[in-house]
């Protein structure tokens, strides 16, 4: 598969008064054309920072991309001037966010916000752009797009707002869509509708999708490859089948064990939901060695001393563990 986006050894650190936070540390990943890649992990593991780094939207100061390369269609975007980067954002790489209400501007109609991308990137006239906005709203399955273009964000429900945001992101036909927890703020029925729309549009347009989530179910549904992150590092990267059937990193196994299952019984008795003991480590003070070792059920002496390398354990399958 031809590679669309390749992130090589990306490190994004935040320089705060309390010290340096290694939010993303030596992360590598790649996305092929029209491929769907899921990134999972607990809150604060660096998923969103990775996404924002790809678009170079890290608030600076305090954030800074301190190392690595981000190759989009073979070009290192970290070296591009801001002006060229602006032509990539929203045009070739788009992003949708978790909370659709706060990411829509309350002072403008939905139509104007969708049209803005077309006006900025394609120099389209406002009326024509609004016409395109109606078309894209229909594609994201908004029931009355002709009415919706003239409505303000507060007049829409949560699911409609998320659709409007997807419409905003997709109106310029980007090659890559980064979806940062697109369904987290929605209820379950709306979640599945939104995922179906994303999946449908992705296939229709041959668009790649980088899906960031902490919901294993969402990943299992639409991602082909999955990257598991912990404490700013990639701990496992595998195909969906390998990851769910043969998880190799203790953290991945912990995550999969802690998913509640309907009617899960063993020997006729209900079992309590399993959890990963402990807390996500403070980003100011990651544990020595493998950052997961204080919570790991299989920790050994070496885990406290040495940071494990990312071992290749199969085709397209990597794991950062001394056991691998």
């Amino acid at each position: 598969m031809e590679i669309l986006l390749e992130v090589k050894n990306l490190s994004t650190h935040f320089f705060t008064r309390a010290g340096r936070v290694k939010a993303v540390d030596d992360v590598s990943l790649s996305i092929g054309i029209a491929e769907t890649v899921g990134v999972v992990g607990e809150s604060g593991c660096g998923k969103s920072v990775t996404a924002l780094s790809i678009l170079r939207l890290i608030p600076s100061p305090p954030g800074k991309i301190v190392g690595g390369e981000i190759l989009f269609e073979g070009e290192n975007t970290l070296e591009l001037p801001e002006k060229v980067m602006n032509q990539i954002r929203g045009n070739h790489i788009s992003m949708i966010f978790q909370e659709p209400m706060t990411y829509l501007n309350p002072a403008f109609t939905i139509g104007d916000q969708i049209a803005e991308s077309l006006i900025v990137h394609q120099g389209m006239k406002r009326n024509k752009a609004l016409g395109r906005a109606i078309e894209i709203l229909r594609e994201v399955e908004i029931p009355t797009p002709e009415k919706c273009v003239y409505e303000y964000p507060h007049q829409l429900s949560g699911g409609m707002r998320q659709r409007a945001m997807i419409a905003m992101a997709l109106v310029c036909h980007p090659k890559l869509l980064i979806a940062d927890e697109p369904t987290t703020a929605l209820d379950v029925t709306i979640q599945s509708q939104i995922l179906n729309i994303l999946d449908k549009l992705k296939v229709e347009r041959g668009m790649a999708l980088l899906l960031i989530t902490h919901n294993m179910g969402v990943v299992a549904e639409i991602a082909r490859r999955v990257i598991v992150m912990y404490a700013g590092k990639v701990v496992e990267s595998a195909s969906r089948e390998d990851l769910f059937l043969r998880p190799s990193h203790p953290y991945t196994r912990g995550l999969l064990r802690s998913i509640p299952r309907l009617g899960s019984k063993s020997q006729g008795r209900y079992q309590p939901l399993q959890e990963i003991p402990g807390m996500v480590p403070s980003p100011f003070q990651f544990p020595s060695g493998c950052a997961f070792h204080p919570r790991c059920l299989e920790a050994m002496d070496i885990c406290k001393k040495e940071v494990p390398k990312l071992h290749t354990i199969g085709p397209g399958w990597e794991c950062r563990c001394h056991l691998a």
């Binding site: 990539i88 954002r89 929203g90 966010f97 909370e99 990411y103 501007n105 803005e116 991308s117 945001m165």
Partner: protein, 279 residues
């Protein structure tokens, strides 16, 4: 435009604000219509009719030169409105970019601009205006400039505050994510959301400008006589307080009513535009 119509509907429901609104509208209409509806030329001197009390011929009486006070007060509304409006617009034109850039970019620009603003704010407003007028000389253009300069820091402060909170909003990040430049993000996504504080602050300054214009004219540092500015009419009547109180009562009432109207309207607008108070 739905939101505007909505705001208007709520304005109707809010009785005191509506009252203020009526005063403001009446003031504006009278100021525009002054040349057509005033019975006499406000500058015409007629010594035979001097110091006449209010009557059917002269509704507000006449002053020491026999000028019709009713006509002078009507024309005074026009002068007062012109100067208040131009000085507030001037302060908006300079104050919005100043406060906006300060808040949005922060850092060194913010430091410089805000220290300038602090310097101006450290003088009492009316004293600074008197100082500027004394330096520039009394005429209408200078009066506008003096009041404008006095108001700039107030506008800049309000805008900076709004921008500081707005720039952290998620939709500003979303604007960057769709490829808008910093500048476009600022004027398309941050500034429009500052509209309500701008409107409210402007009505407050408008009331203040009306008062300041009258005060400076009264002191001989504003609109030069014999122009019928409210402050000038008051100043002319000052020597006849016991023999002809109408010379000071009517312009005084006009000033009080106009300022009362602006303040009522401004207070009401602040309540109406405050999103936390929306029903």
């Amino acid at each position: 435009m739905d939101s505007l119509r909505d705001a208007f509907r709520r304005l109707m429901l809010h009785r005191m604000t509506f009252f203020g609104f009526i005063i403001v509208v009446a003031n504006v209409l009278l100021a525009i219509a002054a040349p057509f509806v005033s019975p006499n030329d406000p500058l015409e001197i007629n010594l035979q009719n001097k110091v006449l009390p209010p009557s059917s011929g002269h509704y507000f009486g006449t002053d020491e030169y026999g000028r019709d006070i009713f006509s002078r007060v009507l024309h005074g509304a026009s002068i007062s409105l012109q100067i208040s409006a131009t000085s507030v617009i001037l302060s908006l034109l300079i104050g919005i970019p100043l406060g906006g850039l300060s808040g949005f970019y922060g850092g060194f620009i913010d430091l410089i601009f805000m220290r300038m603003v602090d310097a101006i704010m450290s003088f009492p407003a009316i004293l600074l205006a008197i100082g500027i007028m004394a330096a520039l000389g009394p005429n209408k253009a200078n009066l506008t400039i003096a009041l404008g300069v006095v108001f700039i820091p107030r506008i800049a402060r309000v805008i900076r505050g709004s921008v500081l909170s707005l720039k952290e909003k998620d939709f500003v990040e979303a604007s960057r994510a769709i490829g808008n430049s910093e500048y476009r993000t600022f004027y398309r996504h941050v500034l429009p959301n500052c509209l309500s504080p701008i409107i409210v602050q402007s009505t407050m300054l408008f009331a203040y400008a009306t008062l300041a214009e009258a005060a400076l004219s009264f002191l001989g540092l504003g609109t030069p006589p014999p122009a019928p500015s409210w402050g000038n009419i008051l100043s002319d009547g000052r020597n006849f307080m016991s023999d002809g109180p109408w010379m000071t009562i009517f312009p005084g009432l006009a000033i009080a009513l106009a300022v009362f109207g602006y303040n009522l309207f401004g207070d009401g607008l602040r309540d109406l535009l405050d999103p936390r108070l929306k029903e």
